[in-house]
């Protein structure tokens, strides 16, 4: 029985990076078609992952053909450009383009129908509109503008550089933690395993990005000549992902803070989450005039029932204090009764001793 494990998407990306490293580390023009095929075989074999034999054969054939083409191009066209200093950028571009094409084709072949096996991968439906609908629904719940804009920037930059799949989840998680004022090395981070959870979220989101790009934006890009609309749609998908990130971060930050017995940590998380108040609705209650403004603002806000809820919480908290006081009194009364019972037993024993002596 074959003990090899199944590779997930990120395993495959890493593996293909090993087979076809960046140009600075590897001279493709020095590698014969069969040499490159052999390299592919070796990396697949040493990876320990299972791939269908038929898939591997197709990829071998593809690599061989593609490398032959590169050789031909080199001899027919590219070499002349290479010799011409002015066309050197074009020469580099042609080589890089060829490598990118090969990489993408191999990744696609190896991940064929296997992406659904990625653990915790949420969107298994093949209907893109359903995926977008779900994402939008979640996005609509997100309100934290600061986090949104920050992560939008991050993802937009990566989208624009067409490098979404190469985001280092660990680095991005560190960035986000630092953004919230937590050093990745702080014990608090270790305690709550925030980074680990964030990385899980980021991995999932990167998969979402890839799916959106491939299933929705890819065909859209090929079908339209309206680049403004394409860019607008792309921004929309990035916003959706951003909303998801925000939602998850908020959930993680708050769910890890168990208020009971961890008040300081809870306060810390709340404070760091709101460390920059510039984009948030903040008002300090100092005197009657400022509180007037505050109430007016809040009553115009859809979240104004928070006041009522906070009032209810106060009443509950006061009720809890009353209950504690009542319990204190009852405990004292109980102790008093115990003491009285003990005293009575002593009296009984003394009386019993006296009776025994008199007998």
């Amino acid at each position: 029985m074959d003990e090899r494990k199944t590779a997930n998407y990120f395993d495959i990306v890493d593996l293909v990076d090993k087979i076809l490293p960046s140009k600075s580390k590897f001279n493709y023009l020095m590698m014969s078609p069969m040499g490159l095929v052999k390299r592919f075989d070796n990396e697949i074999e040493s990876s320990g992952f299972y791939f269908e034999k038929e898939t591997l054969l197709k990829i071998r054939a593809f690599i061989e053909t593609r490398q032959k083409m590169l050789f031909n191009q080199e001899s027919m066209n590219i070499s002349s450009k290479k010799s011409n200093a002015q066309d050197f950028d074009q020469y580099n571009y042609a080589i890089q383009d060829n490598i990118s094409h090969m990489k993408n084709a191999i990744i696609k072949s190896l991940t064929h129908d296997k992406r659904l096996m990625i653990p915790n991968y949420r969107y298994t439906t093949v209907n893109p509109s359903l995926k977008i609908g779900t994402l939008k629904e979640i996005y609509n719940q997100a309100t934290h503008e600061k986090v949104q804009s920050y992560i939008t920037d991050l993802l937009t930059i990566t989208c624009e550089s067409n490098d979404l799949l190469k985001i280092d989840a660990s680095e991005l998680a560190d960035d986000i933690l630092l953004h919230f004022g937590i050093s990745p090395n702080e014990s608090l981070t270790d305690k709550f395993q925030l980074k680990h959870q964030l990385m899980d979220v980021i991995h999932t989101l990167l998969k979402d990005s890839e799916i959106i790009h491939e299933n929705i934006m890819g065909p859209f890009y090929r079908a339209t000549t309206d680049m403004d609309r394409y860019n607008m749609e792309l921004k929309g998908t990035v916003n959706i992902l951003t909303g998801l990130v925000h939602q998850e971060i908020q959930r993680i930050l708050l769910s890890t803070a168990d208020y009971e017995g961890k008040k300081e940590e809870y306060d810390y998380i709340i404070n760091m989450y709101n460390s920059d108040s510039s984009t948030m609705q903040t008002t300090t209650l100092t005197d009657d005039s400022s509180s007037e403004t505050y109430v007016t603002d809040l009553t115009n806000n859809e979240h104004d029932n928070s006041q009522e809820l906070i009032g209810t919480l106060q009443a509950k908290s006061e009720w809890l204090t009353n209950l504690r006081n009542q319990r204190d009194k009852l405990e004292k009364e109980y102790l008093m009764l115990l003491s009285k019972a003990s005293e009575l037993r002593c009296q009984l024993r003394e009386l019993d001793d006296e009776i025994q002596r008199n007998l």
Binding site: V295, H303, I310
Partner: protein, 81 residues
Amino acid sequence: MVSNMNNKEVRESYQFFKDNYNIDFSKLSPNVTRQAIDLINKKLDEKIAEEERKIADLLKMISNEHAKIIELNDCLRKMES
């Protein structure tokens, strides 16, 4: 939903949580406020339930102790007589 609380009550509520829980609701975003409210509400419910259970236990123990004291007093009276 429009708040029925007046300014003074709102201010007092916020001050109450600032003093007792070190939470300044006036500085939290609406979203975080809602989650903080849910969290505190849940904990308060748990604490209230725990206190009520303790009080019920104490009342039962007090009742038992009262019964024992009555019994002991009866014994004492009988022995003294």
